[in-house]
Symmetry: C2
Subunit: 458 residues, 2 copies
């Protein structure tokens, strides 16, 4: 007998070729209801977001037993596929026989229909069985694949930059250090020097761009920030491409092309899941995403942005932080005002004051700003941070001496000593991008097993 | 003027359509030699393993200046593409103009042709510019993509299992723990409980297989083993698929299909690099790999293997460890004897004694062995470790009580309490697979920035 997956039945109307055929399938019971003579099981086999409807009646063997099968049970079903062109779902499986594979013990909390996200965070190993999280983690997987696919098609080499590092990329502080069981108190014991968990793969990936031209790293990164917000996690995945012979303009072109590609890829490949999010999580989802997909990204200098924000304040707009001045770090409220009210679409802010940006960013001719480009999008604020890198050895050395990392990052300067060139790159927080695409508003939900300050499950 | 990449010139004879055309290209000088009136630069732009030959003569502007350009410099060249059907390389670029983009300072160690791998390990940020490491890390990238592509095509959902974990999967000991800058001495300070760096994503990914059917994790894992071998690193990447409704047989079918697919993908997409390895690193490479590609993987029980080894000893074969008995842990020498001498091809060893395998493996009906399958391949020994998982709640509970992790892994048992089913999976060390495919014999070379006991660069 032919074993099928629910995906192959739904995709391209695959069910049509099995009309009236006996099929077998394994899966989990989502719901089971009956009226005493006729029963319906919604079965999901994990291959597709939609369920397969099983119909059983008094003709089925063991009607009584089947009608008592619990939500969550795993079963094997043998049945005949029947076309139902007049029903909501165009086909169903008329049960011939069901075998219980794995029962559900008492205490299974996913019996009830609705649970709060807070509650479900306590059971990350089970919440993936709910519609929301099932859809979410399938989109997460698709999005990750889209990223690899984009870079592969565009000739980028994937580099596994290390998790253990002897430097903390941006001097951003708040890193995790490692110790071993053997010498609990001595962070030097294993490697001979103290070792941090990486906060960014950028410094390690740049030297590879100077050999492969186009490279990227995509892996977990870490911050030991003791903050409890909906957007901060201690462990999160970052995508960090780096391109030799690319200036800021080229960098922005790639960011735009890349984002449009991967979001479109998700829309095409996870239509059912995206429809679910647009219905139940964020009614504005498709409108919001269309900003990124359909609009040309605008470009505005930081200096112009400050003027716009000052003007807004003078015209009576109230920010929580209303003290707007050149040189300030923009808050999310300012970024959102610019992208939502001023341009109503994705916006690159460029040429930030040198003082508020990382040491490796290229100093512009004005000596006051650097060639950074942060991408702001409606509904979120900053989505991507990028820059052209300082390729001038003297300027970079000077900045690193000031920053105090000239000695420890001497190896990094080698990329400017030996055949250096104009190069650029950007960083994208993967978990936040998933939040943006699905409308899920807490990073604790966008990660399969979230790790945040004071909280770790399993 | 058209900007081209070296890859597009070589691929599918792309150079032919540029005959006699002026082109521009950015890249790095690999070699530069001249005889006073005619000069040759081997240029690489990072997009392809092969170089582009630039030819300059007294007609070129600045012959003198060009002839002094150093190995490693980055340049922009404008030149005319000329077909050279009678030469080794079928085309070259006749230089019109070269612009130096990034010079090479004194002290550039990659001037000389040959360096030992030991020496190059001290400069992981520069060794990627050498032929061997350039080829190696491009193959690494291709191999990683092939893995994602295979699983994507076969409906596997990619799950980012966490790096921070509250349990150490196999009780394998020797884990890294994390502390923060803020409270150096207190491993509880950030999460409230002690946290390890993961040694395997398996336990975290299994619950996702019970929702998606087919899943995999692919990311960094960690061991704090204080060993200095060519095959152990403190940080390494693991691929760990997990499949619901799959028994040991299905598991082995997937392992075989998967390995053949990804190795073939590398051969097709990185032909130049693989030819390089077969020429300079491992003359036996293609023969060795053909074992995996062309042969049906054999299956042998552990019990039978012990018989074979005993027989070998009785017939005079000398192992370093010659004391062969049922229940022993096989050493690499034993594994290699089986795969090389007995079957001369890839070999699944199955049904290992329960005592020498992890607690989660399925107990066979004989109550003495578990449904494990380790894949042994000629030249290496073990390449993959897999098993059917124990789905029986009572048996697993009993084993976990014995192993002492029943309480701490109660959540893991939920996968057997609520709709459990037959499921299987395997683990593949990515860095070791890369060694196998390329013939590179030290894990310190297969990783871009290797981290081993007592040694970390940057």
């Amino acid at each position: 007998m032919k074993e099928v997956s629910i995906k192959e039945l739904y995709k391209d109307d695959g069910f049509k070729k099995y009309n009236d055929e006996d099929l077998t399938i394994n899966g989990w019971i989502k719901t089971n209801r009956d009226n005493g003579s006729l029963g319906f099981i919604e079965l999901n086999d994990g291959t597709f977001f939609k369920n397969l409807q099983l119909v059983y009646d008094k003709d089925s063997e063991d009607f009584e037993k089947i009608s008592h099968l619990a939500t969550g049970s795993s079963i094997n079903v043998i049945g005949k596929l029947v076309l139902t062109p007049n029903n909501k779902q165009p086909f169903e499986l008329k049960v011939i026989k069901i075998k219980l594979l794995g029962d559900v013990e008492e205490g299974y909390v996913l019996q009830k229909k609705r649970h709060s996200f807070e509650f479900l965070r306590e059971i990350p190993h089970l919440r993936v069985r709910t519609n929301t999280f099932n859809a979410l983690y399938r989109v997460r997987s698709t999005l990750a694949f889209a990223i690899h696919k984009y870079f592969n098609e565009h000739g980028f080499v994937y580099v596994h930059t290390p998790i253990f590092t002897t430097n903390d990329a941006e001097g951003a502080g708040q890193t995790f250090k490692v110790i071993t069981d053997k010498n609990k108190k001595d962070p030097n014991s294993f490697f001979g020097v103290p070792v941090d968990l990486t906060v960014s793969g950028q410094l390690h990936v740049e030297p590879f761009a100077l050999a492969f031209k186009n490279v990227y790293t995509f892996g977990p990164t870490f911050r030991a920030e003791e903050s409890n917000t909906t957007r901060h996690a201690a462990e999160f995945w970052m995508v960090e491409p780096e391109m030799a012979f690319a200036d800021l303009k080229k960098n922005m072109e790639v960011i735009e092309d890349f984002l449009k590609y991967i979001i479109n890829y998700v829309l095409v490949n996870n239509k059912e899941e995206m429809d679910f999010f647009a219905t139940f999580i964020d009614k504005d989802l498709y409108n919001r995403i269309s900003h990124v997909l359909d609009k040309k990204f605008e470009i505005m200098t930081y200096t112009k942005a400050i003027d716009e924000l000052k003007k807004a304040v003078s015209e009576g707009h109230k920010f929580e932080n209303n003290d707007i001045y050149w040189g300030m770090d923009l808050q999310s409220e300012h970024e959102r005002y610019l992208t939502e009210k001023i341009v109503n679409g994705p916006l690159f802010l460029i040429d930030y004051p040198v003082e508020i940006k990382a040491f490796y960013m290229k100093l512009n001719d004005d000596k006051k700003t650097v060639a950074a480009c942060d991408l702001l999008v409606p509904g979120v604020g900053e989505l991507v941070g990028g820059s052209q890198r300082e390729e001038n050895l003297d300027i970079l050395s000077e900045k690193m001496k000031k920053a105090g990392n000239y000695d420890s990052l001497s190896w990094y300067l080698d990329t400017r000593r030996y055949g250096g060139c104009v190069h650029s790159g950007f960083g994208l927080g993967f978990d936040r991008l998933l939040m943006y695409i699905t409308g899920i508003s807490n990073i604790r939900d966008s990660e399969p097993y979230p790790r945040t300050f004071g909280k770790i499950k399993f």
